[in-house]
Amino acid sequence: MLAHPFVVKALSGTIPFRLVPIGSDQFGGFLLAIVIGITAIAASLPLGILLALGRRSDMFLVKTLSVGFIEFIRGVPLITLLFTASLLLAYFLPPGTNFDLILRVIILAALFSAAYIAEVVRGGLAALPRGQYEAADALGLDYWQAQRLIIMPQALKISIPGIVSTFIGLFKDTTLVSFVGLLDPLRGVTQIVRADINWKGIYWEPYIFVGVIFFLICFGMSRYSMYLERKLKTDHR
């Protein structure tokens, strides 16, 4: 059984399996897409919310940093960031630091989609009437209580379509990691197709297969978001 070093470390502590650690250069396929996708999605939502709040903050420093970060990330292609992750970071980090490539990619993908999520959530925040903040204030709730109990539940609900779009985009962008040497599903397919003469003539088939799987996952996310919207609908107008 093959598994990534993280997984090995995490599992071997609890379950006495014989897992063989493998390097980032061998870890690939849909499992890679899903690992990067899910981790980055899970990390980017809270980060995006904080960035959105930061951008609306009265505190000059917090606001400037948030705006700067969001605009920088949105202004630079993901590919550039990925190359940065694979090459430049290695120069900046102290020599000898073993900072795994997949981890770097995950962090960058999370930062990347966090910037988009921040803008989507900011749209949701802006759509809330000022009266909601005032009512929360007038009842004596403090800033974080008001955000957590009143503002965010409503703002996130409004932002569900935008958030899910961002997630879908992020998930599909995981195929870009092939450019920095990781084995994403498409790259795996390409290698197989090129290596085996039997694929000649029907080389498009595996690509369609990969496309269908991506479609199913993304379509699933989209349906889930619609289900969530329906379930959370409480305005009954």
């Binding site: 005032e134 007038a138 009842l139 709730l141 609900k157 305005d235 009954h236």
Partner: protein, 295 residues
């Protein structure tokens, strides 16, 4: 020491004390040298034309707006930039808004229990019991599990009043509580407010409905041509409440708030005036709310 004692006693009786308060929006001087004292149990109506700063004034009382100079002391706590004081005042002062501002993603019951649970740290059960008590008081206990969007405007405003009451406030502020309501719903909200007034709650109510108009005059007169005319009319309005001659005339304290820039006025009614609705003019809530019963 004795003097401190004396001051304590005075502040015990005074619910809200505003001294030489000034408020600007940027360069726009909205409130100028406001002086106002509200005793405990007093019910005050603030009226004046739209844009005169009525909302701004009561929003200063719970610091939804910050004042730039002067003093505001609410329930013995001075409002400064000290967040502790602000939170203390806000939990003692309930506010009802023109557009209700209920939380649409929570049920009525959750709307009512949220602040007691998170601000007062009341146990959930107890908070729910209190909530049901006040829902019964505003006569809609059967709506507890619905969402605000499923209620009529009048019901929503009564929920908003109940939500404030759940914090057991000592002072209630109303910012045009009936302005967004259809005429037939105004009465149910006013009935709730009258009941509250009868229970001895300290209340400040803002309205631009000029209920206290001189006999025959239309409220529209106030929005007449020049500012001088407006002032003059408004002053007369304050002094001559709209009651028919056969009714006992309430005695307003003719001390308009000083607000030189815009024409802001307060009507003060104090003393043991049991409030009674005057059913003859349902469209004029304030007149019908604050008039003295026939003796």
């Amino acid at each position: 020491m004795a003097e401190a004692q004396k001051q304590m006693q005075v502040s015990d009786e005074i619910a809200i004390d505003i001294r030489q308060m000034n408020k600007w929006f940027g360069t726009f001087h909205v409130l100028r040298d406001i002086n106002m004292t509200v005793n405990r149990g007093e019910r005050i109506v603030i009226c004046g034309p739209s844009g005169s700063g009525k909302s701004t004034l009561i929003r200063c009382i719970n610091r939804l707006e910050e004042h730039q100079s002067g003093h505001i002391v609410v329930d013995g706590t001075e409002l400064t930039s000290d967040l502790k004081n602000i939170d203390k005042v806000r939990s003692e002062v309930g506010m009802v808004f023109q557009h209700f501002n209920l939380f649409p993603h929570l049920t009525i019951l959750e709307n009512l229990t949220l602040a007691p649970i998170w601000v007062r740290k009341t146990p959930k059960r107890e908070a729910e019991e209190t909530a049901m008590y006040f829902l019964e008081k505003v006569k809609i206990p059967e709506q507890a599990l619905k969402y605000p969007g499923q209620l009529s405007g009048g019901q929503q405003q009564r929920v908003a009043i109940a939500r404030s009451l759940c914090m057991k406030p000592r002072i209630m502020l109303f910012d045009e509580p009936t302005s967004a309501l259809d005429p037939e719903m105004i009465k149910e909200v006013l009935d709730t407010m009258i009941e509250l007034a009868e229970d001895g709650m300290t209340m400040i109510c803002v309205t631009h409905e000029m209920g206290f108009r001189p006999g025959g005059g239309e409220p529209g007169d106030l929005h007449g041509s020049g500012p001088d005319r407006r002032t003059e009319r408004a002053e007369r309005v304050l002094l001559e409440p709209a009651v028919r001659p056969d009714q006992a005339v309430p005695q307003p304290d003719p001390r308009p708030l000083t607000c030189a820039a815009r024409h802001l006025h307060a009507c003060r009614f104090s003393g043991p005036v049991p409030l009674q609705p005057r059913s003859t003019c349902p469209a004029r809530p304030i007149a019908f709310w604050w008039s003295r019963p026939k003796s």
